[in-house]
């Protein structure tokens, strides 16, 4: 597991039912591209987060396949519909098999 991985997610606490909200996510991760070399000239092996999935009450909002060209500390901003109260689930999949998860509840009025 890569060190110092910390997901951060910004979701409004409340929304009107059926509204569209903007969600911002950032996860601290080195995203080693596999292109860089260390001081001895050896290639540093690739170590990135390769997949990011957001679901709301089990239904997919967005599913991102990530490649080494995504910057360090991957940031995503996107929009989601909120049909009812529930829970957003954010899942990041690391190259090394680790899975980072975060959940956020939202009240729909």
């Amino acid at each position: 597991m890569a060190k110092g991985v910390r997901p951060r997610v910004k979701v409004p606490k409340t929304a009107d039912a059926g509204d569209t909200i903007t969600i911002k996510t950032l996860i601290s991760h080195k995203m080693e591209s596999g292109q860089r070399k260390d001081s001895d000239g050896n290639v540093i092996p690739r170590s990135i987060i390769n997949n990011f999935v957001v679901t709301f009450n089990g239904e997919t909002v967005i599913d991102v396949v990530m490649e080494p060209a995504i910057s360090t500390n991957p940031y995503f901003e996107f929009e989601a519909k909120v049909p009812e109260s529930g829970e957003f689930k954010f899942v990041w999949h690391d190259d090394d098999g680790s899975v980072y998860e975060e959940t956020k509840k939202i009240e729909a009025a």
């Binding site: 591209s33 997919t60 967005i62 396949v65 990530m66 060209a69 910057s71 991957p74 996107f78 929009e79």
Partner: protein, 139 residues
């Protein structure tokens, strides 16, 4: 050395051709990826929006935004990177708008390409040139 008008035109045309010719060779890796994504279907120009800065000072984090009305998926490619694929966004039933923002790495000045797969099975494409002052691939 004097050129007749006809000779001048011929030289101009040859120079133009030489400038155009290397392009398909460079773009082939990107084209292959687009073909893989579309399954060989026709790709229309436009219909996708790609927002990227004209000049990015630091190629390590270049903010981009893609959006396409009614898209099922959008693939982003950086034609001049050592590995052109950047990301593929797949939108689920609860996606509020088919729009996403992220930050990408660019090795140098190059074209960024966005290809969208529409819900009706058609494909659309757009590209934008980004000038990069400092490349973002280490080395």
């Amino acid at each position: 050395m004097d050129f007749t008008r006809r000779e001048t035109m011929a030289i101009g045309a040859a120079a133009g051709l030489a400038a155009v010719l290397p392009m398909p060779a460079l773009a082939s890796a990107t084209d292959d990826l687009i073909n893989e994504f579309t399954g060989g279907a026709d790709v229309a120009e436009g219909g996708v929006e790609l927002d990227a800065p004209e000049i990015a000072e630091n190629g390590n984090t270049v903010p981009i935004e893609v959006s396409a009305e009614g898209a099922e998926a959008i693939m982003v490619l950086a034609a001049g990177n050592p590995t052109p694929p950047v990301a593929t966004f797949k939108f689920g039933p609860l996606a509020g708008a088919h729009r996403a923002k992220t930050r990408i790495r660019l090795a140098g000045t190059q074209d960024v390409v966005a290809v969208a797969k529409m819900a009706d099975g058609s494909f659309a494409k757009t590209s934008k040139t980004v000038k990069v002052t400092i490349g973002g691939c280490g080395g």
